[in-house]
């Protein structure tokens, strides 16, 4: 690592990925294979380019980092073994810490709804999560068509299962989500 100034964003990226963005020589293979690329305004390789140029805002406010599905196609084909999928994770974490409102709020809302259930019960309570998500997005009618069939087939439990060691889980959440650097 050759950074003389430890910009906190750069530090976080190094903490999570253990890599330096200077590895990337902008070949574009990641973007070429990204299944979500068609829906992104800024392709993945360009996000890395923004970071290389110090244009952190452009990277952190993009919809790209939230549309990334973590499929790892990019990381597995990158000729420099650069872990772009992990980089996207790091950028999301930084974005939330900096309080940047994502372009596509729904993705963040979904993840928040999901994690809320885990923190409360230790396991995913799908009905609760879907409910939370709908309330936070205001779209109460989403997937309503599937509801009858899903409930009839008992594919979603009506009651959550709370694990015995739930306090431990809450402790894990509290300690992990604290904003400290390594």
């Amino acid at each position: 690592m050759h950074h003389t100034t430890l910009n906190p964003i750069v530090q976080k990226i190094i903490d999570v990925t253990s890599q330096d963005t200077s590895l990337c020589y902008q070949c574009g293979k990641c973007s070429a294979g990204c299944p979500l690329r068609d829906f992104m305004e800024i392709p993945p390789n360009r996000i890395v380019r923004y970071l290389q140029l110090g244009l952190y805002d452009l990277a952190l406010t993009s919809s790209t980092i939230w549309l990334c599905a973590g499929c790892q196609t990019c990381s597995s084909r990158c000729p420099k073994n650069f872990e772009i999928a992990k980089l996207m994770d790091a950028l999301r974490e930084i974005s939330v810490e900096e309080g940047i409102q994502p372009k596509d709020k729904k993705v963040l809302k979904f993840h928040n709804a999901f994690l809320k259930q885990i923190k409360k019960y230790g396991r995913s309570f799908e009905l609760g999560m879907v409910g939370d998500y709908k309330l936070s997005t205001g779209n109460l009618f989403q997937d309503l068509g599937l509801a009858p069939e899903t409930l009839m087939k008992r594919k979603m439990g009506f009651r959550p299962h709370k694990i015995v060691g739930i306090e431990k889980i809450q402790k894990i959440f509290d300690k992990s989500m604290k904003r400290d650097t390594k």
Partner: protein, 668 residues
């Protein structure tokens, strides 16, 4: 001893940090020193004259120079002293630059250190004895390993200078990869047209002994005196009787079993075959792994039709011994094959490109064969799967190159140029076709190279897309290529008819083994190492062994040819004298004290130590001692460090010389 001490300022290099006049003054007081002076540039003519004058006037018999590293000017000062009449090995250099002025800031302490260093050398030189260079005879014959364009060039240069050359080639014919190419960049010359005259010249040259279908098995000896064992593999044909009529090849019934190596697997060849029509020598070879006679004793069709009784099924490999003075390695390269490799291989393959899975995804050399008039499609642009003319063709550069994850981190140098060439050849033959090239950078640094690539884009309409390809797969007979253009920031998906992968140049598989046989170092990729990348590009660290062409590093034809001539020149320098002078800084065994444990022999990296029998006058064995072959010894001193009885010494660095230095330093 009458010692002269000369302190050089080296301009500012030493003078800025070391007070040279003070050093010179201090040295004048050392016992044994009768002359001491300092000067700005000792290595210059006037500087050297100062030394020569002092030697004559003061009758000096030893000289110490405080200057830059001995690597730079030891030779200079030794010659100057030798010219003035003292033995050049009674000259010692104190490195006041790299070991003192360049690494310290403080002038007073650096000056004191310099004085110490000079004193150490003065004390050492008192124990120096005169040494004479070792002279070894030179065998004025060369061995060239590899019959590609580099080997051919080197052979012709040496042979035309009047010396004999043995050219060893492992394939049945010389020509190498250049004979597989259709046209060469940047002139678009027909490759075989410019190559075959040279091949014939080699074959007909009275001074070149061509040993094709042969491999170097063992090498012993040293510069000027190599003893090489070559294995002549059995062709099953007596080459002195064969006329090259080709009837046996025609009549061989096993036609479809083996894939042609020359056509890169795109066509078959018979069991009895000549690799290509213009092969030199035009003598066929029997592939014993598939020949019916060798499998069950039947057929013998070739023997029946041969009018000269040249077929010899009983022929065995023959081991031939040759004495040569110089060896040139010109073994060339092989192309990266990107199918799956074993886990410990440095290559991890490109499953995402479908090479080996889809017939219409081919490598660079395979495309050359398709484009070549002597190839499987007679030069027509036809794709391998259904022999249709591809209307859309995609070329992908950097496959295996510049890729730490799945290939090699280096750049293969030639792919940008040959891809442009391929695209142009395609467009010249398929006027309404579309050609696309996916690239990361364009490396076109040679003469007329940049113009060549621009021609492909501006005149022949080849579309260059800047970005790598993520995946290739087949759908409905089309080759789907999924790439990206990073300049425009758009996805580029092409449903092509064919894809050509510009695969990396890599070292031959057997290159490391050959390097070990010759005792030359090679790098982690198997490329043979040169001594110094800037100033000694065609020499290996083993004296008398030179290299040329792609065996050293990815390289194109003009550079390979230039390098081959350079290597030939090096060999000719060697042949220029009957005797070779070598530095006498070699190991010497004191046979009186040597116990014959031969540990020194075990640790010698140059195989320079032999066991020697000491016999009495009646021929009875008294003892066995170690003996150092001064022609092979490189003066590394390992034996000296290993010997338990202190019986081996390094001349020029004897124990008493070293102890004198240490003592001089220790008594402050």
């Amino acid at each position: 001893m009458r010692i002269g001490v000369f302190t050089c300022h080296c301009g500012e290099n030493i003078g800025r940090t070391v007070d040279c006049p003070a050093v010179s003054k201090a040295c004048a007081d050392f016992p044994g020193v009768v002359h001491s002076e300092d000067y700005k540039y000792m290595c210059s003519d006037p500087g050297q004259n100062l030394i020569k004058q002092a030697i004559k006037e003061k009758n000096l018999n030893a000289v110490v120079v405080g200057s830059c590293s001995p690597h730079m000017h030891e030779k200079t000062f030794r010659k100057a002293c030798s010219d003035a009449g003292i033995n050049p090995f009674q000259v010692e250099i104190a490195n006041l630059r790299e070991h003192c002025s360049w690494i310290h800031d403080d002038v007073p302490s650096a000056t004191l250190k310099a004085i110490d260093m000079m004193r150490m050398m003065v004390e050492k030189v008192k124990f120096n004895g005169p040494l004479t260079p070792i002279r070894v005879p030179v065998t004025k014959r060369a061995l060239v390993i590899g019959g590609g364009i580099s080997g051919i060039q080197a052979s012709l240069d040496i042979a035309n200078a009047g010396y004999e050359v043995i050219l060893v080639e492992k394939e049945p014919s010389i020509g190498g990869h250049m004979s597989q190419l259709s046209e060469t960049f940047p002139t678009l010359d027909c490759s075989q047209c410019i190559l075959t005259p040279r091949m014939v010249e080699v074959y007909q040259h009275s001074k070149i002994k061509l040993m094709s279908y042969s491999e170097v098995e063992n090498v012993e000896g040293f510069i000027g005196n190599f003893s090489v064992t070559i294995r002549k593999k059995a062709r099953s044909v007596k080459d002195e009787l064969c006329t090259g009529c080709g009837l046996c090849v025609q009549k061989c019934p096993i036609k479809k079993v083996a894939l042609s190596e020359f056509d890169e697997g795109l066509a078959t060849r018979p069991a009895m075959y000549v690799p290509f029509p213009q092969a030199v020598p035009n003598i066929p070879v029997i592939d014993r792994t598939i020949c019916t006679y060798f499998k069950n004793g039947k057929c013998q069709m070739c023997k029946k039709v041969c009018g000269r009784e040249a077929i010899d099924f009983e022929q065995q490999d023959e081991l031939v011994k040759e004495e040569v003075g110089s060896i040139i390695i010109a073994t060339g390269y092989k192309l990266y094959t990107i199918d799956k490799k074993p886990d410990d291989s440095p290559i991890h393959g490109y499953g995402e490109y479908g090479y080996g899975k889809y017939k219409d995804v081919v490598s660079g050399l395979q495309f050359e064969r398709i484009a070549s008039a002597s190839g499987p499609t007679s030069g027509e642009m036809l794709r391998p799967s259904d022999k249709k003319v591809p209307k859309k063709i995609v070329f992908i550069q950097c496959v295996g190159s510049r890729d730490e994850a799945k290939g090699f981190s280096y750049c293969s140098k030639i792919c940008c140029m040959y891809t442009a060439k391929h695209a142009m050849l395609y467009k010249h033959k398929v006027h309404d076709g579309e050609a696309y090239v996916f690239y990361m950078d364009i490396r076109a640094g040679g003469k007329m190279y940049e113009e060549f690539v621009r021609r492909a884009i501006e005149e022949d309409g080849v579309k260059y897309i800047r970005g790598r390809v993520s995946r290739i797969y087949q759908d409905d007979g089309k080759i789907i290529v999924k790439g990206e253009d990073t300049i425009a920031g758009v996805k580029v998906e092409i449903d092509a008819d064919m894809a050509v992968l510009a695969t990396a140049m890599m070292a031959q598989t057997e290159a490391p083994k050959l390097a070990q046989t010759l005792g030359v170092p090679y790098d982690k990729y198997g490329f043979i190492n040169e001594v110094h990348p800037k100033l000694r590009p065609v020499e290996t660290s083993s004296g008398g062994i030179f290299l040329a062409g792609a065996c050293n590093s990815p390289r194109d034809i003009p550079d390979s040819v230039a390098m081959a001539s350079a290597a030939a020149a090096k060999a000719l320098v060697l042949f220029g004298s009957d005797m070779l002078e070598r530095e006498p800084v070699v190991a010497k065994v004191n046979e009186a004290t040597c116990a014959g444990c031969l540990y020194c022999k075990k640790v010698c990296a140059y195989n320079a130590v032999e066991a020697k029998e000491i016999k009495d006058r009646n021929g009875n064995l008294i003892k066995v001692v170690a003996y150092v072959n001064s022609g092979l010894c490189q003066g590394c001193g390992t034996c000296n460090a290993t010997c338990p009885s202190k019986s081996v010494e390094l001349l020029g660095f004897k124990d008493d010389q070293i102890y004198a230095q240490i003592n001089a330093f220790a008594e402050v």
